[in-house]
Every structure is written in structure tokens, then in C-alpha cells.
């Protein structure tokens, strides 16, 4: 397969399709490692995971074992989890608090700022040995946007803020919902999918599958009764059908009215419990006061499925979920899921927030197991041969709705540019739809 022909696009004819080998080729998977995972900004974690000096977390990013630690000086740093001497892991538990990290192999000891502070029998080393140069090594780029930390293994990567493109505004739309700030709720869902990692990226953006695939979830929530009636939208955006939007650089969002469905911030439904009604309504009133009706409506009465290219899905739906996934070979991925809650949320609402999250999401939810089944089934189907293409042309010739695939095409254009060795796609949206949603339609 000629790499240039992996995507077949005819804008005027309304054709956009991707060759199935994008999901099955080991050669392409290897190119992705080099051109995507070693070049992009990749999600690492949230600031609240290291509240105190000495707190640390182990993470694997793009197959690289790392750990992330807040030094005694208060600064969060990321290190390769490898002793600068013989290479063994110096951090050997998933999380904790430490002043020193001593390698168990030869007892070289590093402080929580990464400096090498002790070497047994140091006198045995000659004048070519420079202890101060043997501190733990860091990935070339680490930065954060409002507490969301990313790393890049590409020294020349553009700044994180510019990389995030228009996704920044949608991150703001989530993070602004809690004036007291957010924290990661302890407890991590770690699972896997026997499918190519891009299945997860694209499933995370796709609303078209939601009704047919997840009917059992809707049957369950509808059986619980109905929530508060949704307010009349004070803004044209995103409209009753919602929108699928490109956020530049391969990022995308699906945004649509949440109607009468539960949103801990801030729309009450029986699944959130009678006792939480007041807390939720008060939160909404505060947001209206602070941000105005339009922005408060977007925060409280629309859902967002956002993908930060390539592998970080930030969903603001039945709760805020952070899902990041790592390819392991071409047909298997490891998935990690965490959730955010506002600092100081009442114990009752936190409990309901988590229950609401678990009803839909996660490996034991009423919906997500079927996403995984669909991804694995499609992977088997792609491997089976027969048709050569995946059609992703939905909505190419109309103003996008949430059921359309404008964001999916934006992902593929960025991906294709990367595969061909370019940093960016020359065009990130369909020419027939340049609408950029929030900034164009709702800016004050």
C-alpha cells in the first residue's frame, strides 16, 4: 500500500474513506510510534495527583516507563524511570511519597528533584565521573495547561498551548465549571482492548453509534424517571442536532444538548438523587451569575466528547472522564481511565456522581463494554479482508451535526500528514464547513 493512498478524499464528490490497513498494518503501527507518539504532546496526568512535596506517580507514556514527582521545592518533574547507572527502575510502586529514590540494584540514590545524591564507594570512580551530570533524565518537554500535564519526546515540539489549538476553549468550558478547582478522584480503571488504538480515538468522538449500540443503557436510565426539564437554549450553538467540530491539529469535539439527562454540573435527574437537587441547582445559578446564560448553558446543558490528538479523550458527559490509551503493537491497546470531581463537593453528590459515571462508563458499565466489543469486532472484521475502505464521509456535504464525522476527518487528515512525515495537515476541516463553533458562534 502506497502511504499517500491511505486516504481517498474527494471534497466535491462527498467522498472520504480510509484504507483498512491503517488498522492492521504493523508497518504503519511502527510509523505511528516514530511520527506520532514520539512527536506529539501526550497526556500525563492532573496536577491534583501530586498534592504534596514528595508525592509521586508511575506512568507509562508511549511505551516509555516514566515517573512524575513533586520535588521538595514544590516543582513537579517527570523522569525516565531508569537509573542512570545500570538502567533499573528507580521507582518501583505506582504511587506514594518519597524524599529519596534508591535504586535497588547498586543503591545509587536520587532525591525527589532527580539529583544523584549518593553513590556507594564513590571513590572508586575516576575523574571522568561527574555525579552532578548523572541525575535522572527527563523527557525533553513537559508542560501543563491549567493543571493538565503533557509530555513530548520531541525537543522541537511546538508549545503545548499552541498544540492544543481550539481544544483549549473546550477544556476551559469544562474546567471553568468548578470555581473551587478539580481533583482526580482516587481509583483508576485500567483495562485493554484487542484492537488498534485509533478505534478508541474515533469511538470517543462518535455519536452516531450511541443510540443503536447503547440501547440497554437508555432503557435503564429511562426506567428511573425523568429529570428536570431542559432549559430553552439561549444560544444558536450548538443547535438541537449538536455539532461535530475540528479543533485544529487533529483534535475534535462532539457537542450536543444533554436534554433531560443527568449532569452533576449541572442538571438534575433522579439518578443523581433527591438529596442532590439543591446543590446542583445552586451550582447552575452560580455559573449563570458568573458566566452569563449562554456560557452557563453550554457548561451545564450540553455534553462534550473531546479528543486531544492522538490518544487523550476528555469526555464531559455522565461525569468528566479522562481516558488515555497506548498502542501495544498494531492490534492491542492499554487504556487508563480517571475521573474529576470539584474540590469540596458534598459526599452525597460525589457518591451520586460516581454512580452515574459507572452506569454508563468503564469496563463494568452498562454501555462501554459494548464499545469495546464493537472495537474488537471491527478489528476482526478489518483483518478478515474483503472491503478495503472505512467510510467516514458522514456530514461532508451539510453543516455538521453531532452525528456527523467532521472531527473524525480532521483526525485522519492530521494522522495522514504525520504518517507522511509532515508535522501538520494543510487543512483541518471540510471546506464546506468552516464553522468553528464556540469561538465564532458564541464569543461575547
Amino acid at each position: 500500500m502506497n502511504l499517500k493512498e491511505l486516504i481517498d478524499e474527494d471534497r466535491c464528490g462527498g467522498v472520504f474513506r480510509v484504507h483498512r490497513s491503517a488498522f492492521t498494518s504493523a508497518e504503519i503501527a511502527a510509523l505511528e510510534q516514530e511520527n506520532i507518539f514520539k512527536r506529539c504532546w501526550l497526556y500525563l496526568g492532573h496536577d491534583s495527583e501530586l498534592p504534596n512535596a514528595g508525592d509521586f506517580r508511575r506512568r507509562t507514556v508511549a511505551g516509555q516507563p516514566l515517573f512524575w514527582v513533586r520535588g521538595s521545592d514544590g516543582q513537579a518533574r517527570v523522569f525516565y524511570n531508569s537509573c542512570t547507572h545500570w538502567g533499573a527502575n528507580v521507582c518501583r510502586v505506582d504511587e506514594g511519597n518519597a524524599e529519596l529514590f534508591q535504586c535497588f540494584y547498586h543503591a545509587w540514590t536520587f532525591n525527589n528533584k532527580g539529583e544523584l545524591v549518593s553513590v556507594p564507594d564513590e571513590a572508586g570512580y575516576g575523574e571522568g565521573f561527574h555525579k552532578q551530570a548523572m541525575g535522572l533524565a527527563s523527557p525533553p518537554r513537559v508542560d501543563n495547561y491549567r493543571g493538565l500535564y503533557f509530555v513530548s519526546f520531541n525537543r522541537d515540539a511546538e508549545d503545548l498551548i499552541s498544540y492544543l489549538g481550539d481544544a483549549k476553549e473546550y477544556i476551559d468550558l469544562i474546567l471553568d465549571q468548578a470555581e473551587e478547582g478539580w481533583r482526580i478522584v482516587p481509583g483508576t480503571q485500567k483495562y485493554s482492548v484487542r484492537a488498534n488504538w485509533k478505534m478508541f480515538s474515533l469511538n470517543s468522538l462518535d455519536s452516531y453509534h450511541v443510540r443503536p449500540l447503547h440501547s440497554t443503557f437508555f432503557k435503564y436510565t429511562e426506567s428511573l424517571g425523568s429529570g428536570d426539564p431542559p432549559p430553552a437554549p439561549p444560544t444558536e450553538f450548538p443547535g438541537p442536532q449538536g455539532r461535530s467540530l475540528s479543533l485544529r491539529n487533529g483534535h475534535g469535539v462532539d457537542i450536543f444538548p444533554s436534554l433531560a439527562r443527568a449532569r452533576p454540573i449541572a442538571h438534575w435527574h433522579p439518578i443523581l438523587g433527591e438529596e442532590s437537587k439543591e446543590e446542583i441547582r445552586k451550582r447552575r445559578a452560580r455559573l449563570v451569575e458568573k458566566f452569563g446564560e449562554e456560557r452557563a448553558y453550554l457548561m451545564c446543558n450540553t455534553n462534550r466528547l473531546m479528543l486531544i490528538y492522538p490518544n487523550f479523550a476528555l469526555h464531559d458527559i455522565a461525569g468528566v472522564s479522562l481516558r488515555y490509551f497506548e498502542p501495544v503493537g498494531d492490534e492491542y491497546m492499554e487504556v487508563t481511565v480517571q475521573t474529576l470531581a470539584p474540590h469540596g463537593e458534598s459526599a452525597g453528590l460525589l457518591n451520586r456522581r460516581l454512580e452515574n459515571f459507572l452506569s454508563f462508563l468503564g469496563p463494568g458499565g452498562f454501555a462501554h463494554p459494548d464499545d469495546i466489543e464493537a472495537m474488537e469486532s471491527a478489528q476482526l472484521g478489518f483483518r478478515a479482508g474483503g472491503p478495503d475502505w472505512v467510510d467516514t464521509s458522514r456530514g461532508m456535504q451539510r453543516e455538521s451535526t453531532a452525528l456527523d464525522e467532521l472531527h473524525v476527518r480532521a483526525f485522519w487528515r492530521q494522522w495522514h500528514a504525520n504518517i507522511l512525515g509532515y508535522a501538520k495537515a494543510d487543512r483541518h476541516h471540510d471546506s464546506v464547513d468552516g464553522g468553528q463553533g464556540i469561538s465564532k458562534d458564541t464569543a461575547e
Binding site: D94, V185, P186, G187, T188, Q189, K190, Y191, S192, V193, R194, L213, S215, T216, K219, Y220, S223, L224, Y332, E334, V337, Q338, T339, A347, L350, N351, L354, E355, F357, L358, S359, G362, P363, G364, F366, H368, P369, D370, I372, E373, A374, E376
Partner: protein, 173 residues
């Protein structure tokens, strides 16, 4: 023969009978699940019961304040069973085969009508060419209602570090 020795024997026999009763209860429960007799399985629960599977990195945490994998009250557990019985729980349609080994049953505490018991489990899920073992321990609160044992709380604590390569927890664990 002293009276004391008889008392001690009676105590031992009572404890042994309870152990057997609990063990038998858990083994029968496992059979109901392996046979996908989910409605019969639901009948084993009290109305205030919970079914929980904590996250693999927080095995002892309270799911009220931590993200778990499953935290069902009876309404959600009935919804889960309803879902699994439909043709639209795609991860389990057709149903996977399962085989459960429930062993090392220990009575931890008896508190009035409530019995706290732990057990080890090894549950195989077999489907679509994969055999995925789930390993861990059960923490039960059983309650005697009208002479019969019922489940008032059932927590399945996974020893696995992650649901990998399983992907999901789509069966009842």
C-alpha cells in the same frame, strides 16, 4: 465426661455446620451464575444489598468516594441483569462461558443475624477464542432472613493489576 467438654463439642459442631452452610451457599450461587440463571441469582439478595467491584489500584477503598469498576444497589443490579438477559448487551450476546472456583471460605465474624465471610475465587470467562481468568477474593455480608441465608453485600476484590487483557467486566463476577 464433663459438661464443659460437651459444650465445646457443641460449639465446634455449630461452627462447622455454619461453615458448611456458607460454603454450600457460595457454591450454589456460583453454579447459578455459571448457568446464567440470573433471576434466581437475584433472589439471593436482600433489598438493601450492594454488589461492588473496586478499582484494581484501590482494592480496599469505599466506592462512595473512589472510582470503582462496579457499585450497584439493587435497582442497578436488576438493571444489569435485565441488560444481560436482553439481546443488546453485545459484549455478552451470545453469553460467554464461565467456570467459577470458589474456595478458601472463611467466616470472619458473626454479628447477630449477619455473617461476614471471605472466599477466594478464580473465574474463567471463555469467549471469542479467549480464555480470561479473573482472580481475587469475595467479601460477603450474609444475613439470615426467615431462616434462609441472603446476600446483604457482595464485594469482589480483584488481585489483577488491571483488566488486561480482559478488557471488560461484562459478566457478573
Amino acid at each position: 465426661m464433663t459438661v464443659g467438654r460437651d459444650d465445646s463439642l457443641n460449639e465446634k459442631l455449630t461452627a462447622l455446620l455454619l461453615e458448611r452452610e456458607v460454603e454450600d451457599f457460595l457454591v450454589r450461587e456460583a453454579a447459578l451464575l455459571d448457568e446464567w440463571r440470573l433471576d434466581d441469582w437475584l433472589d439471593l439478595f436482600t433489598e438493601d444489598a450492594r454488589y461492588m467491584v473496586p478499582a484494581t489500584d484501590m482494592p480496599t477503598a469505599d466506592p462512595k468516594e473512589t472510582l470503582a469498576i462496579i457499585n450497584d444497589d439493587m435497582a442497578r443490579l436488576r438493571g444489569r441483569v435485565e441488560r444481560l438477559k436482553s439481546r443488546h448487551a453485545h459484549r455478552e450476546f451470545p453469553w460467554s462461558r464461565t467456570r467459577r472456583f470458589v474456595t478458601n471460605v472463611r467466616i470472619k465474624d458473626i454479628n447477630g443475624e449477619e455473617i461476614h465471610a471471605n472466599a477466594s475465587f478464580l473465574v474463567y470467562r471463555i469467549r471469542s477464542g479467549h480464555v480470561d481468568p479473573l482472580i481475587g477474593s469475595y467479601v460477603y455480608t450474609l444475613r439470615r432472613v426467615a431462616g434462609l441465608l441472603k446476600i446483604a453485600a457482595r464485594k469482589a476484590v480483584l488481585d489483577l493489576e488491571a483488566l488486561r487483557p480482559h478488557g471488560t467486566l461484562s459478566i457478573i463476577l
